[in-house]
């Protein structure tokens, strides 16, 4: 536990820094309606870093950073130019093309530089778990500087982001402000993508800003809510990743999505005027009941039509209640089913035991001769085959059990679900007529 806390402290500090700056840029990006600009900029900076890498510079060297910054500036210029393009095609299309071309170019450059694959992988997945103290300090300093810059320039920058054709400003002024915005955005994304990875940076950027926008139109309120939600989601992500033993980046993305869903529900069910509130709650209740009934109906019909196929809902029900297929078998079949399960465990245990024995002999006692190793391998293969045999027995018996469940469980469930849906339909007709 102590190890875990010391492991998670720095990543959490980094993710708070990321949330603070990215949620702010997210508000801008949502207003500009170009949510994928960050991916395009991040990929261009990755391309720059890759070109530097191919040229023999380490990604963390000044030259590596210089290349990344140069390519990011080119990206910022291209995105600035996209305001002009918007007259002909959607900006999102332009941004998307920029992204895929930059990604493909990275792959092509990597192909000519050995040991570059590692570099691309790192950018895609990131590794927020291994961020260092110096990195966090660097992020805080950089984001403070950019935050201060944006505070001083908040009026023109917000005006430019909020309107597609800002009044009272020359085209040149608009372009300069756009470039300043995209360049600072690019620097932020360049710094965060190598640590957090593309997926997580996108979540930091968009999800908190969306949550804020659900609740308010005022920029400062949106920002405060976004920051709170982002930090909350980060805590949930780290905790979930530790407790459930899951990769941190992907778990955090899931946590951000979950906080977004909860925020949406909270808005619809709690933070609305009283009249809408009760109506919304009724609608939500109906949706939950109806979708459950439809799921049960579909699953029971599938059980009736094809009992031998995969039955995800039935399997989940069996796992949750402990009412496995064994309960639907004759006593003799049940014995076979259960002993097959026991044998599978036993055979796998044998395979593991042989692996452990071979592994220990690598460095302890007398080494095993090649023929001994071959013998172990062939035992393991036999045990694996036998496990597969028992698996087959279980599959056949499960099919048999499902054949019975088809009418004993499937039919009643289908009838109950149909009746339930019918009642809901009838009640709705009734209340409509009353109105």
């Amino acid at each position: 536990m102590e190890d875990a806390l010391s492991l998670l402290l720095l990543p959490f500090a980094a993710s708070v820094a990321f949330v603070l700056i990215h949620a702010y840029f997210g508000v801008h990006v949502l207003r500009r309606n170009i949510v994928f600009a960050d991916l395009a900029l991040a990929q261009l900076s990755a391309l720059g870093a890759t070109v530097a890498f191919a040229g023999g510079y380490a990604p963390t060297s000044p030259a590596g950073f210089g290349y990344a910054l140069l390519f990011t500036a080119v990206g910022a210029a291209l995105l600035t130019f996209s305001r002009g393009v918007a007259r002909f095609v959607s900006r999102e299309a332009f941004v998307g093309i920029l992204y895929v071309v930059a990604t493909a170019a990275t792959v092509l450059v990597i192909d000519r530089s050995p040991q570059g694959a590692e570099h691309v992988k790192r950018i895609l997945i990131g590794s927020i778990l291994t961020v260092g103290t110096a990195d966090v300090a660097k992020f805080i300093a950089l984001y403070a500087a950019i935050g201060a810059l944006h505070w001083f320039l908040r009026r023109p920058l917000l005006a430019i982001s909020s309107e597609s054709q800002p009044q009272g400003r020359t085209t040149l002024a608009i372009q300069v402000w756009d470039f300043v915005f995209f360049l600072s955005f690019g620097v932020v994304v360049t710094s965060s993508v190598t640590t957090a990875g593309v997926l997580l940076v996108f979540s930091f950027l968009i999800v908190p800003a969306v949550i804020g926008t659900i609740f308010s139109r005022k920029v400062h309120v949106v920002l405060v809510i976004a920051w709170g939600a982002g930090i909350l989601a980060s805590v949930a992500g780290f905790a979930g990743s530790y407790v459930l033993d899951l990769p941190t980046g992907a778990t955090m993305v899931a946590a951000f999505a979950m906080v977004l869903v909860l925020a949406g529900l909270a808005k619809a069910l709690i933070f609305v005027e009283a009249a809408r509130r009760s109506a919304n709650r009724r609608i939500a209740g109906r949706i939950v009941i109806a979708s459950t009934l439809i799921l049960i109906l579909a699953s029971s019909l599938w059980l009736i039509i094809n009992p031998a196929a995969d039955q995800p809902l039935v399997a989940a029900f069996e796992a949750a209640t402990g009412l496995g297929p064994a309960h639907f078998l004759k006593a003799s079949d049940r014995d076979i089913y259960e002993s097959a399960g026991r044998d599978m465990l036993r055979f796998q245990g044998e395979v593991d035991r042989l692996n452990a024995r071979e592994k220990a002999a690598r460095y302890e006692g007398a080494p095993l001769a090649d023929d001994e190793i071959r013998r172990i391998a062939s035992y393991q293969q036999s045990f694996n085959e036998m496990t597969r045999g028992e698996q087959y027995v279980q599959d056949v018996l499960r099919g048999k059990a499902r054949e019975r469940e088809r009418w004993a469980v499937g039919l009643p469930a289908a009838i109950i679900a149909t009746v339930g849906l019918g009642l809901m339909w009838g009640q709705r007709r009734l209340s409509e007529r009353r109105r």
Partner: protein, 307 residues
């Protein structure tokens, strides 16, 4: 003008053909640099070897190019690692559609045949040969002694195409194995003081290497290929590494190294990048150099006292 250019091209082509050696060169295509190195050791100047996967790229993420289709089509012999390591070769072979190059064909060699395999897994691939072949850990070339088995297969396969040269292949192989044996003796001696020393590796690439040099790789940073470790797993590795007195973190050439470096830092042990394949790191240009490098790196890292 055009006629002049055509004449020039023609002259160049004639020059190339004339310059080609008169020897019956066997065109071999190997999936990895390791197989290519072993083929070159046996074939000498009687073979020309091409490799499909460039060194130091992740073999599981390899994407064949159109040129590879051409290389496979014109190969006199195709040598693969097998065991699912170079699974992407199968669609390539089927695209070419030449019986000769398919499993069981005269120009096909699965180099894993006959190798004593470690860590047999649950799933099996049923081959046309009629014997079910469990999927084992595929990094068998990292045990120098397996080179004897692999090169025996290569001699047979080359001799199928150039029977007249069989004796030369056999002689080359014997010379190579004699040199390898002498070197293996030295490598083992240099690593003998570290028998039983415990490591954590990034990937499960080292069972054959560990068996030959008597090392103990207790766990892996990446629990499943391509999935980043969870904080719980890292915490577990730190606790386990302390308890087992792990002496170094071993890392593969083409994987991001943040997690391994973090772990090394937390445990206060060295981080060492070892070569999994010929050419995957500088100074690993052939099969000898691969082990020369790995043995030297390990001896150097373990020779320094624990911090």
């Amino acid at each position: 003008m055009r006629a002049g250019l055509f004449g020039l091209v023609l002259a160049a082509m004639v020059a190339v053909v004339a310059a080609a050696p008169a020897l019956a060169v066997v065109r071999v295509v190997a999936t990895t640099t390791d197989m290519a190195a072993l083929v070159a050791a046996v074939g000498g100047d009687l073979v020309s070897v091409e490799t499909l996967i460039p060194p130091a790229t992740d073999p599981e993420a390899f994407e064949p190019r159109p040129g590879d289709l051409d290389r496979v089509r014109h190969a006199n012999l195709l040598v693969r690692v097998g065991l699912g390591y170079d699974f992407w070769l199968d669609p390539l072979i089927h695209r070419v559609g030449d019986k000769r190059l398919m499993r069981g064909g005269t120009a096909y060699l699965d180099a894993s045949a006959g190798v004593p395999l470690l860590e047999i897994r649950g799933q099996s691939v049923v081959s046309e040969g009629g014997h079910a072949h469990g999927v084992a850990n595929p990094h068998y070339w990292l045990d120098p002694e397996n080179a004897a088995i692999v090169t025996a297969g290569i001699v047979e396969a080359l001799a199928r195409f150039a029977p007249a040269e069989r004796d030369r292949f056999v002689a080359n192989r014997e010379r190579f194995l004699a040199q390898l044996d002498a070197r293996l003796q030295r490598w083992r001696e240099s690593l003998a003081p570290f028998a039983g020393v415990k490591f954590i590796a990034y990937h499960n690439s080292w069972p054959y290497f560990a068996r030959r040099f008597r090392l103990d790789v207790i766990d892996f940073v990446e629990p499943r290929p391509g999935v980043a470790p969870s904080p719980a797993h890292l915490a577990h590795l730190i606790a386990q590494g302390r308890k087992a007195q792990v002496r170094a973190i071993v890392h593969e050439p083409y994987e991001p190294d943040d997690q391994s470096r973090l772990l090394a830092e937390k445990l206060g042990v060295p981080f060492v990048r070892l070569a999994t394949s010929v050419g995957s790191l500088p100074h690993t240009e052939d099969y000898f150099a691969l082990f020369e490098f790995n043995a030297a790196m390990l001896a150097r890292v373990l020779g320094t006292p624990r911090q």
